[in-house]
Symmetry: C2
Subunit: 347 residues, 2 copies
Amino acid sequence: MDLSERKLKILQAIIADFVRTAEPVGSRTISRNYDLGISPATIRNEMSDLEEMGYLTHPHTSSGRVPSAKAYRLYVNEIMEKKELTQEEKDAIAQRLYENVSELDNLIERAAHVLSEITSLTAFALSPGKEQEKLKYINLIPVDERTVVLMIVADSGEVSNTTVRLDKPASEDTLRVLAKNMTYNYSGKTLSEALKVDIIKSFREDAEAMAMFQNNIVPGFIRTLEDMLNVNLYMEGLTNIFSIPEYSDIEKARHFFEMMDRKEDIRRKLIGTDDGIIVTIGGENQEAEFCDCSIVTATYHVDGRMVGKLGVIGPTRMKYDEVTSVVEFLTDNISKSFMITEGDEDE
Amino acid sequence: MDLSERKLKILQAIIADFVRTAEPVGSRTISRNYDLGISPATIRNEMSDLEEMGYLTHPHTSSGRVPSAKAYRLYVNEIMEKKELTQEEKDAIAQRLYENVSELDNLIERAAHVLSEITSLTAFALSPGKEQEKLKYINLIPVDERTVVLMIVADSGEVSNTTVRLDKPASEDTLRVLAKNMTYNYSGKTLSEALKVDIIKSFREDAEAMAMFQNNIVPGFIRTLEDMLNVNLYMEGLTNIFSIPEYSDIEKARHFFEMMDRKEDIRRKLIGTDDGIIVTIGGENQEAEFCDCSIVTATYHVDGRMVGKLGVIGPTRMKYDEVTSVVEFLTDNISKSFMITEGDEDE
DNA sequence: GTTAGCACTCGCACAATAAGAGTGCTAACA
DNA sequence: TGTTAGCACTCTTATTGTGCGAGTGCTAAC
């Protein structure tokens, strides 16, 4: 059930106009502003067909047409041509991306920020997932007689630490043995595997070390592992929605903010999506709360593994061509940045 | 220029009513709902006086009165009686405060969260300021041949670290010497003093160590110090403002969110205020953007030193008695928590 | 000094009206 | 058979007018 060339053209024009103005589009507007060489009446007939086919809706009898999610889907899949960024645009974006960025986790947040500014939408980013990272070794560094820093080093070079307070003093020797034992038991395991290992048994012969380990170190160790596994969700440009006509109603705005406040839901939703650039339009979202929104996400990679996400959320009426291009450009850059600093092959 | 007993009573009634309803208060409402034993007409006369004195304003001729900032100030200073929390309330708040709290920085954020829920306003908190903390020692821990973890230990037991990538491999010995040298030069200094020390000269005799230090360690060291000095600003309950009639207009809401988005301004404003419980009402705020708001802050302490803040921001019409009590109770609890875990005298 | 009474003012909600934008249908045209 | 002009009709939105209610301020009486 293909659409005629002309219907496609009209649909495209309606989408273009509606994306620009946020107002329902009438037949005369199309005939006047888009050079299709047909009269409003003809356009009306076509519109009527398109509506019947589910591509357009009608807020009320005497108002113009609004594209449906199905129309946007068609547009994104078939009509839309990828908007190639010019070299100047690319340079400008890259420059802003790397401004004030000292560490990589920082880069993710910055990317979300730049993305929200460019698109004037709300952008989000997920910091790299570390399920695949492996423990390299564990170190216990005495600070004072009853304070110890527990340091976990992953094979990527990522280091995380926590301060542990002991219930009785421990000698440096004890700590060294403990650390050695832990390293022996954990190294090579991924972070999530490490959470499941039971190494208490390896202290069987030394009750005191075991007690020390169990009561003091383990809680801190688990906390740190969980902390490393924890994926940060950054959100930027929340206030942009106040400039979007769809949210000029206070209840809509409230709903949006309350939705964005449920970080856990958002995180779950984002982690769920596949690799590559994903566009989810309106009702295509399973969750009722997102069904007025479109979400565009892209994935960035480390070692060819998908590890994090970047994207925007906004009204279904958005500039999909522009947004997808920018999101893609940014994730490509992030992936490249990880390559350069993670690998050692430069210079 | 003191107010008569009766004027005070009337003013108090107006404030109570307006805080509750957010509607301008008329003379009949007061006479009906508050048992002052005087007729609306008398109240009207008094109101007229109060208005002339600057305690009340008049949105338009034929509408009730609204308390001015001056009235709230009088109320907070003179009329308001501190609302003592019942033991049950205290227990309930304390329980919620310590729910899911594993670390102290976490406690601050949690406190803001609980505060926002109790007051139905927007709450914020500043994590402890660390200007006074002193460096205890510095450690350089090799991870692999060209990766080193720089660890800074403060005398409070606070530990911070960063991963440093070296431009050429360094032996463990070199690192040990470097760390020793740094500890020698920095220990006992506060974090901010440390930022000003120039220890390059102490490597004068060892050009190679100096180069290594200067090019690789110093940037990471500075970054980590700045990171430790950095005071986190937590905000909770931003969406609460959608339930406040003052912000039912979309432009007002927008303005509020954009204001709260300027984290730096807010941080500066909060750090500026004095010790103790501070109530700043409407136009008393120097900054134009806060002059429709009231801000209540309180300080929490470590070792009797004021280190962090907790507070709420909302419309000038707020329950000052309740808010100040809760804010005070929470900061007291935070200060106590710091004492228990910082000191060693327990058990 | 206090109060009742009353005229007056304003804002707000509601209905009525007019204008405008857009559709859908019909009939004519190429 | 597809296209178009014309026209009646629908529905929204802005505007205007009206009445009501809440509240004031003033005056005169208590």
